[in-house]
Amino acid sequence: MRKHLFWVILLLAGLCQQAWAQDRNISGKVTDRSNGQGLPGVTIIVKGAPTIGTSTNSDGVFALSVPSTATTLVFSFVGYATQEAAIAGVNTVNIALATDTKQLNEVVVTALGVERNRNSLAFAATQVDGGDITVARNPNPVNGLEGKVAGLAIQQSNTMGGSSNVVIRGAKSLLGTNQALFVVDGVPISNQNTNSANQQTGRSGYDYGNAAADINPDDIATTTVLKGAAATALYGERAANGVILITTKKGRRNGLGVTINSGITFGRADLSTFIKYQKEYGAGYGQIYGPNEDSYFNRDASGALVVPTGEDASYGGRFDPSLLVRQWYSYVPGSPTFGQATPWTAAANDPSKFFQTAVSNLNSITIDGGSEMGNFKLGYSGNNEQGYLPNSRIKKDVVNFAGSLNLTPRLTFSSSVNFSRVKGLGRYGTGYGSENVMTNFRQWWQTNVDIKELKSAYDLSTNPDLRINNGNASWNMRSPQSGDLRAFYWNNPYFVRYNNYEEDTRYRLFGNVTSTYKVADWFDVLGRVSLDSYDEMQEERSALGSTTSSYLPYYSRYNHTYREYNFDLFGNFKAAITQSISFRGLLGTNLRRISNSSIFAQTNGGLAVPNLYSLTNTISPINPPTETQYGVGVDGVFANATFGFLDRVFLDLTIRRDKSTVLPEGNNTYYYPSVALGYVFSESLKEKAPWLSYGKVRANFAQVGSASAPLAVYNYYNKPVSYGTVPLFALPGTLNNSNLKNETTRSYEFGVETSFLQSRVGFEATVYQQNSSDQLLAVSIPASTGYLARYVNAGELRNRGIEISAFVTPVQTSDFKWTVNANWTRNQNQLLSLYSGDNLVLATYQQGVSSNATIGQAYGSLRGTDFTYDAQGRRIVGSDGYYVQTADANNVIGNPTPRWRGGITNTITYKGVSLNFLVDIKAGGQIYSLDRAYGLDSGLQPETAGLNDLGNQSRLPIAQGGGVILPGVKADGTPNDVRIENNGAATFGYNYNPNAAFVYDASFVKLREAALTFALPATLLSKIAVKGIDFSIVGRNLWIIHKNLPDADPEDIASSGNLGQGFQGGAYPSMRTLGANLRLRF
């Protein structure tokens, strides 16, 4: 493209030169600011005399004769910001052009890898440069897009290597996936996670991350986010959720280059997202223990007071340094206080000291080169990440190769291969359970327990002579006064991290072999075979000595194999029908085959001997492993035609037909049409409105389908574990359906793109509506039918939204430039119909809270028990002084859907120094905090202690002036004046309050990314044979500027996917990351 332009312009320039007599000569060199290389083909004109001009040669050098009246030259080039240079009194002008991603005439990679001029696009597509994704050195390229693209909602979990939820324009499928499709160089990449439904709904588990993170971030050239169905229709049935199209870097045309990135970042838990503890009262649930010391303590045989270590709450005795009691630590052999009673005080080191500094190294090297014969690129990236929890690390190695060979001028072969290995150890336990130390710290804890003593107790236990409870010296000893030192509900958190860790590996290979044959100037054919293949193994364990409150010590392994093959063959046509009508066409076919299988097995009845993690080390014989296997085949044929009229009106038509194996014969062939129309009105207004640099309106309609649920057609039986030797079979919970058909998404979109004042300022706005109907889903049906769910086509979900992105360059001189990019998205989601009833339960959580799709409401509304309210909306308090709750848990108590999202990126460049920072905003949406429901119940937070309205300690008995009065009104409407006890009966937690009491606003404003980059000047570099040295200081999640959720990060989720959105339990604090990166180019 650029090459053609170059010749055209050169020709024009040559003509011009001959036609005009000139007065003086100006020469110089134009370079690319990012790499200092000469830029060929740059157009140079004299300001005010656009017919006088030239362009640079292949080294970026130019020479131009200009009239004596000329004062300024204008340098412009596709993809770069236009610059001006004064020429008064000079004969040499050297200038460095900066790339401009907002250049509206840029080439955009669209569906199936087709490169198109932005002019001709009649749908929303946002292209992000690779450099913008890696600016803050995020090792996960998916997260590097967060806050940068209107309409793209990315939500990451705070666990090390955790999955990221990637949703474009809202949830469209009620129960199927809503994750965007990733396509890397034409290879569709699975972004599945293998997290269990239990893990995703806040039960115990691990977040193993999602597979789209297996990409070398430094290998990404551009990322295009195709949002609406019209943009993605060529992808067929997987187009409904939008596509994130990644194009990797290509080898350079001439010579050889080496780029090295080496960086290190350090992370610390952001304690504004961690619980704060009260420091007045210690272990226990009230006065229910021994006969003395007000029954806050037990007594051992010697008569010493013993802390009720078995209780995981802090509603016990008031701290009193003069009171000597035996704590858990005094039962740990070798501890400095072994056998001793110690003062009853709050811990000197609370669990915030448990976090350590996370360290991550991200290094990459890319070697590329080429000649007329072809080019190649070989890259490696290595990322070693150590999390902020002890004994946690992930090692990710990615090797990628791409090459192309021009066998003849007409025939090109190219191939790219990406191989990655991810090895995880000690990923953070998520959800509710002993393997998630956050559940422990945030929900069930004793404020008298010192985290450093736990560390020392764990270290002592590594000595076999001092070992108790298989090395698990827990603060939560079951009954030390009677010699029972077993961990009751919670392990020593260090034991959890060093003994109950998980391990995982994922080997992945994806790539393609492509050949292109240029049959004629107007026609070429492309054939491509691509593969995405991964094998993963996950091993989990709970060591002997661990609490058995949820499960016995165990070892489990899960092996999963995924293969996806795509065979593509398509022809591209390009022709000018008349002088004013252009035509581009595409005709092709795609065959897709997926096979997926897995096996899971675990020990049964406990582990026989310690430290052996093998399926053989089981006490009872193991139950049969769980095997899954399915295949999917889809055959597609498609065609695309784009007509251009006078380079200003473009009509784009596509059609695809898919035949899918997941649907029954007869219903398995379906069509997706799309039509899009764009009008570049600035072309028509050139004369009248010179301030208008660019303007386009576009409108489109598309219908795409999906059939995403394999094995839903034929009925079968489950096989529960046999009763001894008696085999058992059972009806499955879900009834399949042999009359299924595809689901349909209809999408309408209208947009405008403009820029003004030589593209110094501009905006793009899109409104859209997408209706997804006939959803293929296993709807819940009443259990009284004998089934829990039934596959049907039902339900219609509507997403409507506005996306606005804007940019402005308030200051631009040759040395200094300040650009602001902003985006704003509002998506409104509403369920229009369902199969039967008006509510579909999507997921259920602890405490009876559920996520729901309800007719007339946004997807994912939270239900649970609520307060009761009077006519004025005030909470009603009963005669007993407690809130009157609804009896059932079926009241809408919140919705996680935000009102809007936005991001603002500032880029400030001064000579070789640039500062880039991104503020990410989410407004609205709600979240239920299980951490608060339990933590307030067990008396951890400061608001459960302190003084009451009378100025007395609220935890004193009412008779002694204690107790609290809950805000609200009595049944008669007068303010509540009934004082209630604030003792172990847990006034503030889940016990006496409805679920609605723990629903919080999930809004946030975050300083997401900041990077300060220094580029060494080219003059210096030329002396040391280096093409570029950049040094940058980067930070991520540096500052939560605003949030309303106490003690936690409103963004943290247990896993990607539909489940668990709006529910938080055992949440991890956000991590502040600061680091440095060095980039060398040779």
């Binding site: 009230g286 223990y289 078995g310 009872s620 009443p782 259990a783 004998g786």
Partner: protein, 469 residues
């Protein structure tokens, strides 16, 4: 070129190669049996809380269910779902498959279908006893996703009809469920006795609302009921997961100490010198048994834990016992039904059988003497024990149904003894039924609303039709 590669065999891709598409109908029966017994036996705080409702036990620190908080762990949902989906769903499918199986001999088929139907009657009656009106005639049809609710009394009438039909269909001269039957291992003699026992139970459950019918049914059934404790309908659990007694999972495997004896139960046992006390519970220290106050948070260390017998993986889960039969017969005599014997003789037999049953489980061999001593006490002896027959039988039946907590909850509501009171920390009165599951509100809303309004609102205080007093 593409034609050969195209998807031409839908089946190849759409068939799950790892699961069975056809199975023998009999293999679905043990699935139903196991789930039925587990559901009636479990003490998991998410599933079965009837030991708390009848105040055998109380919860130590996490006392939500002891306070009758049914919503936070969705108890009504978790009790309803396995009975409908796993028990009745599989029994229904087994009936369909066996009926259609031409290879089964007529007599065997009749026996198999009758046994399956009897299990269904047991499950249906449990559902009615727990919720009241429920979907019945339109239930178990996945194509009707809004089944209407039927009147509880009408369902009971139909269940009685079904039991009668099952008894008529059963024959000891043909084989039955065979080894797929994990309760009786296919013994038709015992299935017949179980059928008659169930008939007697349905009769006695409705004695307050239709005495005449009860009389007829009881008198018909009495000859065929359990002859001894060896006839008990129970499932002996196995040593390994998932076939362990659910009590073992929750009391032993978990290492938790969520449950201790309630003083409302242990105090009467102490007062009556009940020989089962040391089997039902463990001493706090030495030989002291102490119950915790029912309801409020309490320390696990200070009260008696459930006994070691209940902590065995292989403890049987019980559907019906000989002891229960004798209690029913004692009551029948008091109601004037001609079932033979005296109220006292049946009462004594019931208590003796219960003590023998428990002492046998505990490995004790002094049951006969212990029972005699126990019955000789004026506070226990039928003639001298306090109160009318409902009180005498109610108290002793409550003590003996310790491992049939779901049935104990029925008897407590029906006989109104022992007199239990709600704790101060309770959210509601003691439940007389469960509220309907939340899923019914969401998925079967109109029928749910009708059912709820017919009992004056979906409340735990609404009485089941047979709970007249």
């Amino acid at each position: 070129m593409l034609a050969t590669a195209c998807v031409d065999s839908i089946q190849d891709y759409n068939v799950n190669p790892k699961v069975a598409a056809t199975v023998p109908g009999l293999t679905l029966v043990p699935t139903a049996e196991r789930t039925l017994v587990r559901t009636l036996t479990t003490t998991n705080q998410n599933l079965g809380i009837t030991r708390l409702l009848v105040q055998y036990w109380t919860e130590t620190t996490y006392n939500d269910e002891a306070r009758y908080n049914l919503a936070s762990r969705q108890i009504p949902e978790n009790f309803w779902t396995p009975l409908y989906q796993t028990v009745l769903g599989n029994l229904n499918e087994a009936t369909r498959l066996i009926t259609a199986d031409a290879t089964v001999a007529t007599g065997v088929k009749a026996n198999q279908l009758a046994c399956i139907d009897l299990l269904a009657v047991q499950a249906w009656s449990t559902l009615v006893d727990t919720y009241g009106n429920i979907p019945y005639t339109e239930a178990l049809n996945p194509l009707n996703t809004t089944p209407k609710y039927d009147d509880a009394a009408t369902i009971y009438t139909d269940l009685i009809r079904r039991v009668n039909a099952d008894i008529a269909a059963m024959s000891t001269s043909s084989a039955g469920l065979g080894t797929s039957d994990i309760i009786y291992n296919g013994s038709m003699t015992r299935w017949l006795r179980y059928a008659n026992t169930l008939k007697l139970r349905l009769a006695m459950n409705t004695a307050d609302v239709d005495a005449a019918r009860s009389k007829t049914l009881a008198e018909q059934a009495v000859a065929g009921v359990f002859q001894s404790s060896s006839d008990n309908a129970q499932l002996t659990f196995l040593t390994a997961l998932p076939n362990q007694n659910p009590l073992y999972e929750d009391l032993v495997s978990s290492g938790r100490a969520d449950y201790v004896g309630a003083d409302t139960f242990i105090n009467p046992l102490l007062a009556l010198n009940d020989p089962r006390l040391s089997i039902y519970f463990q001493p706090v220290s030495g030989s002291t048994y102490k119950g915790a106050p029912y309801g409020p948070k309490t320390s696990a260390d200070n009260s008696s834990q459930p006994g070691t017998v209940l902590r065995s993986a292989t403890l049987p889960g019980v559907l019906a016992t000989y002891s229960e039969v004798q209690f029913m017969l004692a009551e029948a005599v008091e109601r004037g039904f001609a079932v033979g014997g005296t109220a006292e003789s049946h009462y004594n037999a019931a208590i003796t059988a219960s003590i023998a049953y428990w002492e046998n489980l505990a490995g004790k061999t002094t049951a006969a003497a212990d029972a005699a001593t126990y019955l000789a006490q004026p506070s226990v002896a039928y003639t001298t024990a306090t109160g009318g027959y409902k009180q005498k039988i109610g108290i002793q039946k409550w003590i003996s149904l310790y491992n049939q907590p779901t049935q104990a909850w029925v008897e407590w509501r029906r006989l109104d003894y022992p007199q239990l009171t709600k704790p101060a920390v309770a959210l509601t009165d003691i439940p007389l039924r469960f509220t309907y599951p939340t899923s019914e509100q969401n998925l079967n809303g109109a029928n749910y609303a009708t059912a709820a309004s017919s009992i004056g609102g979906d409340k735990v205080t609404a009485k089941i039709f047979w709970d007249k007093f």
